[in-house]
Amino acid sequence: MTRLSEFTRRGALAALVAGAAALSLGAPAQAEVSFEGKTIEWLIPFSAGGGSDTWARFNAPFLSKYLPGSPTVVVVNEPGGGSTKGTNLFAARAKPDGLTILGTSGSTQFPYLLGDPRVRYEYADWKIVMASPTGGVAYTSPSTGVASAAEIGKLKGQKLVYASQGATSLDLVPLLAFRMMGLDVQHVFGFKGRGDGRLAFERGETNIDYQTSSAYLKNVMPLVEAGTAVPLFSWGALDDDGNLVRDPTFPDLPHFGEAYEMVTGQAPSGPEYDAYFAFFTAGFPAQKMVFLPKDTPQEIVDAYQAAVTSMKQDPDYQASKEAVLGTYEQVTGKAAQALYTKGTVISPELRKQVVDMLAADYNVKLGE
């Protein structure tokens, strides 16, 4: 528990510092930057009604309220190509005037990290405004003989089945995690979402699964209470120095690193872990990010960051955000920059290692 309180205190302090920094930088700039009477297009490379769309539509009115000049912020959906189409469009056409912003998700980061040939965008070009972290919890069926998180070691050598959305989707994170732990998991692909996967678990077709935090709280906790699911570990969160720590939403559950240690007897390290860590960061702590296009002037970036910082203080925002965004704090400033770097940079060797593994073991070809 000390770990958690330490984390929160440090987190709060950092947020304060970052906020103050953003404000002090942003204040003089705000006088110059004004979007009065303008319409800002928030490009979402997914169709309406999905997670990213809901996230953007929730944030849009608050952003509109706190951006200088109170511009209209509209969400424009450009779905297709697993989000590469709309993102390519943004990379090719958005002008650095602050009137077009992009919301990305793990499914935008992953093809980029894997070197998908459809990707014609470069994360390093962009300026980050905000990052929205999320978390998730892996759980198993009591039929495996595991009665609590501490008994995770019993999974070793058992035949486990996982319902996956595809080896290059967000489910790449559990795939890499289970592999590293040395668990024998059969990944059954073709599921349309984590919800469908949970249904397969409830039907008894699979015996290991994970859900993102809010779905876990609402839909898996009742199973845990009924004794038909056993939580194993959370993916964990990142502190300001980029270290893996327990997820503040699930302080009593070990994070992946601890669980790994329980199974293998040593702390995770090495190139395999580095590859996992890049995808984990892109999929969870930096899952959703807001970007301004290449060459955007610093004062516009500052105005946006200041808007996000004030938006987070809005009582309306605080009152309703938990239902939509979960219990995680929206990240701006230096911390967002750190997440963005960690979640979008991978060394060519590590990329090759993951791509080769996917090709050899799961027949994944990245669309050539």
């Binding site: 009604g49 779905p79 039907r203 070809k365």
Partner: protein
């Protein structure tokens, strides 16, 4: 329990709640009338209102929106032959022939009263069913879902038309089109031919519009008459209500089917109308006129599709898994309001659940009531000379088509599938068989693979699988007995033999498609290739059988069919060039590639009205301005950009020309 019911009812009946619901219903009706727009567009219109509303009113508004879309989309299906949304595709089959014979008001009122009834029956079933639904829904594993997909495919037996090999080959084409894009088991991309658009597969709305709307528009364009040939019977609406009452048991059964299929997550709502239609055909003994304007062919799908929305609420609320496209939107809306679906919806939040279910019934009553009142005046549209209506319809289907991915490629795909649809119509290939194959293709493949992974071949021994298997066999048996022929007179075979050459050519082209699909599988792994190989081989076999029939069949073999010879327009001097319709659409698509959609549409209107409709400048300008304003207003409200062309790539233009 009773207290919960009473509390839910009281919350529902406040003026505020009813007012918001009416707002949702109105938006839903408008959005439903315009083909291609559905719940997703409606949601983006309503979202700005959601903040600060109390959850019950907000839910009422959302429910009002999604509940009535399958009601008002009937207008386009019946009056213009344009499937308004995936839920109204089967309605086109008999609704449009009724409109063509001047009975649009009758067809519409029968459709609306069926929608109303279906929606209310669906809500009644749900009131009890919601309490026991969780364990029942969990009984449907991948194996059972695969069998349900097969059951859906068995409807092809009903809709295969006169020549069974043609029908099965058409279904195989559909299955292969549905397999374009990422393979469920491995994610490898099939039949994409290095085209980025094909990575995601061809969207349903494009397939529906291409197969059904484009051939009808092109057909009508060649004659200069109105949609309704002969006089329009304006006051048919009482007759429609009587028609429905005479078939009330069919309506009840189809509502039940719709509700059940909607409540099983994973099958998807887009086959419900076909299953209901197939059911109507299978169970009708007295004087079936299906495909030529049988009112039962309207009542069945319309009763089912509104009930389906109710059923689809169950997986949405209980598991957070959207049971249909508009439910995905509803789910997004629920999260925005702050209601997270889950088991608590039948526990502490049961009152919310009930207010949702009954809002659904109320919204259906409101929506159908408004539609019935509008049916009579709107059905007069069918008396407007078609050349004046045509540019609006072409612009409308193009607008609908590019809602799919908002790309020029949508329009190109529409044109390509439109050509396939036109030729299929001409040569008597059953388009519904293709559509069913297309819709069920991903389900059939995914669930088969998953069932094998989870259970091995033992999955065939599961009781649910055996039961659904027997139902499928029965469905095939009844289907083959009562096959629907939507290709007109049966005497035409002998006369159709005259154009044997082109019919063989088209069959060879289809065979060529199977060959391409099989060739494509060579570069894929076993799991990615096995489904297209299986379908491709079966399709090729039936196409080959058809070729034998066409080559050597006796003079009046049912395989012969050419609408150009046996259609009622044949021999009429007024009939225009066969390729008129596709040529105009191709012109619009080509212009879009050059100067973007919005400019092209304006030019297209002026050109069409002046050159084709020979309208005066006054009419031309008024209609062009009206259409341009309408589309602009829609695009502005939905904050969308039009497909862009070379011009926009070279120059940065202001919206809407961007």
């Amino acid at each position: 329990m009773l207290e919960t019911l009473a509390a839910a009812f009281a919350a529902l009946m406040t003026a505020e709640h009813l007012g918001y619901m009416l707002l949702g219903v109105s938006v839903g009706l408008v959005v439903g009338v315009i083909p291609g727009l559905g719940g997703i567009a409606g949601l983006s219109l309503l979202v700005p209102f959601l903040y600060g509303m109390d959850p019950i009113s907000a839910l009422g508004m959302l429910i009002g929106l999604v509940a009535v879309i399958p009601t008002s989309d009937t207008f386009a299906s019946v009056l213009m032959g344009i499937p308004g949304s995936s839920a109204s595709q089967a309605t086109v089959l008999d609704g449009f022939p009724l409109a063509k014979s001047g009975q649009a008001a009758r067809a519409l009122s029968a459709a609306f009263i069926s929608s109303l009834f279906g929606g209310v029956v669906g809500a009644l079933i749900l009131t009890g069913f919601v309490l026991i639904a969780r364990p029942l829904i969990l009984m449907f594993g991948s194996a059972e879902l695969f069998m349900l997909a097969l059951f859906g495919l068995s409807m092809v037996a009903v809709l295969a038309g006169r020549s069974l090999p043609k029908g099965l080959a058409a279904c195989a084409v559909g299955l292969l089109i549905g397999a374009i894009g990422g393979a469920p088991a491995t994610g490898e991309f099939r039949m994409i031919f290095n085209t980025e658009y094909l990575y995601d597969g061809i969207p349903l709305v494009i397939v529906g519009l291409g197969l059904f709307a484009v051939p009808e528009i092109s057909d009508l364009l060649r004659r200069n008459s109105a949609i309704a040939q002969g006089t329009v019977i304006g006051s048919g609406w009482l007759r429609g209500v009587r028609d429905w009452w005479r078939n009330v048991f069919l309506s009840v059964r189809c509502a039940g089917i719709g509700c059940m299929i909607g409540s099983i997550p994973g099958l998807g709502g887009s086959v419900v109308d076909w299953i209901a239609y197939g059911h109507a055909v299978q169970t009708t003994k007295k004087d079936p006129q299906f495909g030529k304007g049988d009112i039962r062919g309207v009542i069945a799908p319309e009763s089912a599709n509104n009930a389906m929305q109710g059923g689809a609420l169950l997986p949405t609320m209980l598991f957070g898994i959207p049971g249909s496209g508009s439910m995905a939107v509803f789910l997004g809306g629920m999260v925005l309001i702050g209601i997270e679906p889950g088991p608590s919806m039948v526990g502490p939040d049961l009152n919310v659940t009930y207010s949702i279910i009954w809002s659904l019934a109320l919204a259906n009553i409101m929506g159908a009531g408004i539609c019935i009142a509008l049916a009579q005046p709107i059905s007069r549209l069918t008396a407007v000379p078609f050349p004046l209506l045509a540019p609006c319809m072409i612009a409308l289907i193009c607008f609908a088509a590019f809602q799919a991915t908002r790309d020029l490629a949508d329009l190109v795909a529409l044109l390509a599938l439109g050509l396939v649809g036109i030729l299929m119509k001409r040569f008597g290939w059953p388009r519904p068989a293709l559509l069913i194959g297309y819709v069920l293709s991903p389900q059939a493949e995914t669930y088969f693979y998953q069932a094998l992974q989870f259970n091995g071949w033992d999955f065939l021994l599961r009781p649910g699988v055996i039961i659904i298997g027997l139902m499928t066999l029965a469905s095939v048996w009844f289907g083959l007995r009562n096959r629907v022929d939507d290709t007109g007179t049966t005497q035409g075979a002998a006369a159709s033999r005259a154009s044997r050459g082109v019919q063989i050519l088209f069959a060879v082209a289809m065979l060529g498609f199977f060959a391409v699909a099989l060739w494509d599988t060579a570069q894929h792994s076993f799991l990615g290739a096995v489904f297209p190989i299986g379908v491709g081989v079966v399709g090729a076999v039936f196409a080959a059988i058809l070729l034998v029939h066409l080559w050597r069949g006796h003079a009046d073999h049912p395989a012969f069919y050419d609408y150009e010879i046996v259609g009622d327009h044949a021999g009429d001097d007024d009939t225009g060039w066969f390729w008129t319709g596709p040529a105009w659409i191709a012109g619009l698509v080509a212009a879009t590639a050059l100067v973007g959609f919005y400019v092209s549409m304006i030019v297209f209107f002026v050109a069409f009205l002046r050159l084709r409709a020979r309208a005066g400048w006054g009419t031309t300008l008024a209609m062009t301005a009206g259409a341009a304003g309408f589309v602009l207003g829609l695009a502005w409200m939905l904050s969308l950009n039009f497909p862009y062309g070379l011009l926009q790539q070279a120059y940065d233009l202001p919206w809407p020309f961007r």
